[in-house]
């Protein structure tokens, strides 16, 4: 293919040789040859190792399974972050009401909390619960209070009343949940039979809870001797 006049290589060649020679040199010797540039300099040992690994992976002939994202890629994609507009306590008020209703169905009545109820509490879902950190080996976590926005394997993400999302690790921490449950038979003296709601408060040891909410649904919690607290 004859080079265009605006091609800088051809222009430089044509300054040195006659037009025919220049064209010949260009088509035969220059345009098909690959130009090796100096490879990217990596000053970091970690980056060097990463490039080596990627080079080896690329040269493997076997088709590889698509791997899950690494944590660096995950954080870079910001898939699981809560955007600043959504970090408002008022937004999750409705979710909290839903959770309270769900809890009332799970625990039918405050008077008979038996083994079955406790097992249900262990495998319940806590998204939208109003939680307070009551005791922790890391002292600065104590007193954090808000609505659970995300229940991951090792942490709770809690949005506080001041519209701040706090990530509280579960390890070595005890959480307290408050919910309103049926208090029993409504008082008969009143004309309107209002349902008596009592506050039901229970505490959870975060150490024993380091599971994803999905995994916890089917798990049976066996009674073990816990670390002395």
């Amino acid at each position: 293919m004859p080079p265009k006049e605006t091609n800088p290589t051809f222009y430089l060649l044509s300054r040195a040789h006659s037009p025919d020679t220049a064209q010949q040199i260009y088509t035969k010797k220059l345009s098909t040859r690959p130009l090796h540039l100096k490879p990217t300099l990596t000053s970091n040992a970690q980056d060097k190792r990463r490039l080596e690994r990627e080079r080896k992976l690329a040269s493997r002939k076997k088709a590889l399974k698509p791997k899950p994202l690494s944590s660096r890629q995950r954080r870079a994609l910001c898939l699981y972050d809560i955007p600043p507009k959504a970090q408002k306590y008022s937004i999750y008020g409705g979710l909290h009401q839903l959770w309270q209703g769900y809890m009332r169905e799970v625990l039918c009545g405050v008077n008979n909390i038996g083994e079955g109820e406790k097992a249900k509490l262990c495998s319940a879902d806590y998204h939208g619960a109003e939680v307070e950190v009551v005791r922790s080996r890391c002292v600065s976590r104590v007193g954090v209070k808000g609505i659970v926005v995300k229940d991951s394997k090792f942490t709770f993400e809690i949005v506080t009343r001041r519209d701040v999302v706090k990530i509280v690790p579960k390890e070595g921490t005890i959480f307290r949940f408050t919910t309103a449950v049926d208090g029993g038979a409504p008082v008969e003296e009143q004309k309107q039979e209002k349902e008596v709601l009592k506050d039901f408060v229970f505490e959870l040891h975060g150490d024993q809870f380091t599971l994803r909410a999905a995994d916890r649904a089917g798990k049976k919690f066996k009674p073990h001797y816990l670390r002395d607290i």
Binding site: V134, R135, S136, R137, V139, S140, R141, V142, G143, I229
Partner: protein, 354 residues
């Protein structure tokens, strides 16, 4: 196997110092050198005892020494939340200077102390983890099985310690939810003038004025109170150790009012082999003056300075202070100072502590 005592690293020890005091300026009494610094280190003094010979007691009585020295303290029941709120907080902590110590059982309860505006809480593990205030572990490190106590120090005089500030709100939360039981406190106001509207009155304090208890006419055979000289003797170290141990023992027996040190003691040597130390004994009469209560270290220091000023050069006296032991296993803090006779600037100091 070999009979060595095990684990003496953390047991209380007694150190003896024999030295020379500097010049005593009444306007600027020394506080940085021994023996004065040991007295200043007893932050909460429980008992002070003076053992003096008869002639010195006459001098002290004439100076109206004892009438001037009647310190006051109070006992009051409050919660920690009440200390950090209201008039009490403004008057006594922010503006004034008080000393407070809470009641506790050794090894079991939490202790709270307030000194120079710094509130120190000694908490067990559970209360510390619930309270949410940052602190340091305290006590024997590294021993398996012992749970360390935690110490939380809060400086209440900082400008950031006001209601509404974030750091203070954490403290208020802790005092409202976790450390909210009322405790009995010993309270001592270090201010110069009593306040007009005393915020403490609301809590119905029990005020106590400490009168010294004087026991006169203790007839004893006095052992030699001059320590051995170090000029010639090669065996000085052991001699001095013997002197120090025996003299301290003798003074402790006098303060316990033991019949063994009395002049007319005739006890069968089968029952008790104690003999007062030294070769020569002088018959003399002693007077013991005791103050028991809750005193700041400045009062004990003041007492020591006044005694040193009023004592003539050839007379001896001894003063011992006992502090409240706030350690986990009942730390004792005790010190005794003896001014030997015929030695105006010398002193011997016994300190017991960890």
């Amino acid at each position: 196997m070999l009979g060595f005592p095990t684990d003496t690293k953390h047991e209380p020890k007694c150190t003896v110092t024999y030295g020379v005091m500097g010049h005593l300026d009444p306007k600027q009494p020394p506080t940085k050198r021994k023996p004065f610094v040991s007295v200043m280190n007893h932050h909460f003094v429980q008992k002070t005892e003076l053992i003096v010979p008869d002639e010195l007691y006459e001098i002290i009585k004439n100076e109206a020494f004892l009438e001037k020295n009647t310190p006051k303290y109070s006992r009051v029941i409050m919660t920690l939340g009440e200390i950090t709120s209201g008039e009490f907080f403004n008057e006594y902590i922010k503006r004034g200077n008080v000393l407070m110590l809470s009641e506790w059982r050794t090894g079991v309860d939490k202790v709270y102390t307030l000194r120079d505006g710094i509130l120190t809480l000694y908490l067990d593990k559970e209360s510390y983890e619930k309270a949410g205030l940052v602190g340091k572990p305290d006590g024997v490190k590294g021993k398996r099985g012992t749970k360390p106590r935690w110490v939380v120090e809060i400086n209440l005089r900082l400008p950031s310690m006001l209601h509404g500030k974030k750091g203070f709100e954490r403290i208020v939360y802790a005092f409202k939810n976790v450390l909210n039981t009322p405790v009995t406190w010993l309270f001592c106001d270090l201010g110069k003038q009593p306040l007009v509207n005393d915020p403490l009155e609301v809590k119905f304090p029990h005020r106590v004025t400490v009168q010294p208890k004087v026991f006169t006419d203790i007839e004893v055979s006095l052992p030699p109170l001059t320590p051995p000289t170090s000029d010639i003797n090669i065996g000085y170290e052991s001699e001095f150790e013997d002197f120090a141990v025996e003299t301290h023992e003798w003074f402790s027996l006098v303060s316990l009012d033991s019949p063994r040190v009395k002049l007319d003691d005739k006890v069968d040597s089968f029952l008790c082999r104690y003999v007062p130390p030294g070769e020569t004994h002088m018959k003399s009469r002693l007077v013991s003056i005791t103050w028991k209560g809750f005193f700041p270290s400045s009062w004990a220091h003041n007492l020591l300075v006044e005694m040193l000023q009023n004592t003539p050069a050839d007379v001896w006296f001894s003063m011992s202070t006992l502090g409240f032991g706030i350690g986990w296993a009942g730390d004792i803090k005790d010190c005794m100072i003896l001014k030997p006779p015929n030695a105006p600037k010398e002193y011997i100091l016994w300190e017991v502590g960890r």
